[in-house]
Each structure stands twice: as C-alpha cells, then as structure tokens.
C-alpha cells in the first residue's frame, strides 16, 4: 500500500504491458456476457465496415485499471473510474494486439485523501482511451 503523503502530481506509479489475443476476447465475452459477434467473427466485423475483429471497449477499460489495482493492492479503493472510447483495438486472428498502460498521478485531494490517477493506454502508438481517470481513496 503506497503512502498518500509521499505522492506528487506527475508521478508515474505503474506501467504494464498486456497482450490481447482472440482467446482473450472469447474469455471476456463469457465472463461479461457481451457476445456481440464483432468481437470474434471476422466476416461480421468486415460486413459492418470495421477494420477487423475488435476488442470489447470494456475489456480495454477493465485491463487499463489493473496496474492501479496492483499498485494499491485493493480494488475496493477505486471509488470512481471513467473512460472515453476513442479508438478501436483491432485483434488479429493470429498473434496479439499489444496494449501498454501507464498510470500517472493527475491530482491530489489532500482533504479527502484521494488521488486521481490518469491512465494512458496505447495500441500501435496511439492512445485508445480518452480522459481515462480513476479516483483512489487512501
């Protein structure tokens, strides 16, 4: 558990890389109940004009908070977490899509003992989430 008093705005508190494969998409579909076919069928993804099979936005969101959860050691301290979905993550049939997540302290609320952690999630050198922010209660 990190010490709130030692945090400074701009501190990079966590960084982690993830590999998303088609297996990951099937696993997430089952776990979440989101069986939209654009997340596992190339023919349907193509038919609706997508660049390929896409990762569920909620999977990208769900993964992106994990470095923060590991850093604080307790998912229950994440009080508020929001993102905008700005760019799709295309997952190839073979190999994987590489996601990179960096968590930086964006703001500190000394009175409430809360830290805002800003997340940067990149795929193929562009960010895929906008305004990805989590408030952590200390």
């Amino acid at each position: 558990m990190p010490n709130f008093e030692e945090l400074t705005v701009g501190d990079v508190v966590a960084q982690q890389d993830y590999k998303i494969t088609r297996d990951s998409l099937v696993r997430y579909a089952g776990a979440s109940g989101d069986f939209n076919t654009i997340h596992y069928r190339d023919d349907i993804a193509q038919a609706v004009g997508l660049p390929g099979v896409l990762a569920h936005g909620m999977l990208t969101m769900g993964i992106s908070i994990q470095p923060v959860v590991s850093w604080i050691g307790d998912a229950g301290q994440v009080m508020d977490y929001g993102v905008r979905f700005t760019k799709p993550v295309v997952v190839p049939a073979h190999g994987h899509a590489a996601l990179s997540v960096t968590a930086t302290i964006g703001a500190l609320d000394e009175e409430a003992k809360r830290a805002r952690v800003d997340l940067t999630t990149t795929f193929e050198e562009s960010t895929v989430l906008g305004k990805a922010q989590a408030w952590v209660q200390f």
Binding site: Y18, S24, R27, Y28, G30, A31, S32, G33, D34, V48, G57, M58, L59, M61, G62, I63, I65, Q66, V69, S70, G73, D74, A75, G76, Q77, V78, M79, D80, Y81, G82, V83, R84, F85, K131, A134
Partner: protein
C-alpha cells in the same frame, strides 16, 4: 434512430443478481487482474468478507438494465448501429462476492450530433438493503443511417 422522448424515462428494477465468488474470479481473469484479486485470504486480510470485484464488474449488472432499453419498442434503438462512447463507475462502497444486487436505469439524456445520436444512461445499483452501492454511467453512440 433513437426516440428523443425516452429522455428521463426510468426503467423497472431488475431482478436480484447474486455476485458469485467464482464469477468474480472468472471476470478478474478475463480483465487480466493480478493473482491476488482472486485470492480469498488476501481479500480477508484487507478486511473484506469475500473477493472484491474488479472496478469494471458492474457492467454485468448494467447490462441487465440496458437489455430492457434495447428491447423497448418505444426507445427504437438499433443495436447493430450502437458504439460504446464512454463509461464510468462511481462507487459508494466496494462490491464483494455475496452481494445481492438490483439495478434501475434512467435515460439521462438523448442528444443529436452530426447525424448520430448520443444516449446517456445512468444505472443505479442497489444492495439487498436497498442502499445505493454504485452508479454506472454509460453513453452509447447510435450511428445515423
């Protein structure tokens, strides 16, 4: 197309959802959570009665309420044209395995933007004592014809 008249509409309370320990583990694995998120004794060492859900888990509950909207003939939402715009979860307290949850969705706004519609839903999630535990806020973009 989205019927703008559904702005402000409140959908009925969903039936109770019991958060299962193995479901939490399954979801944690799917979002690539670290091993300790699935470890009961680790959760108990932090003072929890059972496993704490990953921060995005309430999407499972939100989905139940959203199903009501998508199948509502009055809303006229064409699911094949829906893209997820943004998502937020605001917690009043952590959710753990063993919680029995219900949800109630309100259509917060329907906006028109460059041929697309943006619909924002607020789903309030309550525990068995009817206390608010989390609000899930979701904006769907419905692409124009």
């Amino acid at each position: 197309m989205v019927n703008p008249d559904i702005q402000g509409k409140r959908y009925p309370r969903t039936s109770s959802y019991l958060v299962g320990r193995e479901k939490v583990r399954e979801f944690a694995k799917a979002v690539m959570a670290a091993k300790e998120s699935q470890d009961l004794s680790f959760a108990q060492s932090k003072g929890y009665a059972d496993l704490v859900v990953p921060p995005t888990f309430p999407v499972v509950i939100q989905e139940q309420s959203l199903t009501l909207v998508l199948s509502d003939p009055e809303a006229k939402i064409d699911f094949s044209r829906v893209v997820h715009g943004d998502q937020r979860f605001v917690y009043q307290r952590p959710i753990t395995a063993g919680d029995e949850l219900t949800s109630e969705l309100t259509v917060a706004s329907v906006k028109s933007l460059g041929g697309n519609h943006m619909v924002t839903f607020e789903t309030e999630i309550f525990d068995a004592a009817d206390k608010l535990v989390c609000t899930a806020i979701s904006t769907l973009v419905v692409r124009g014809e």
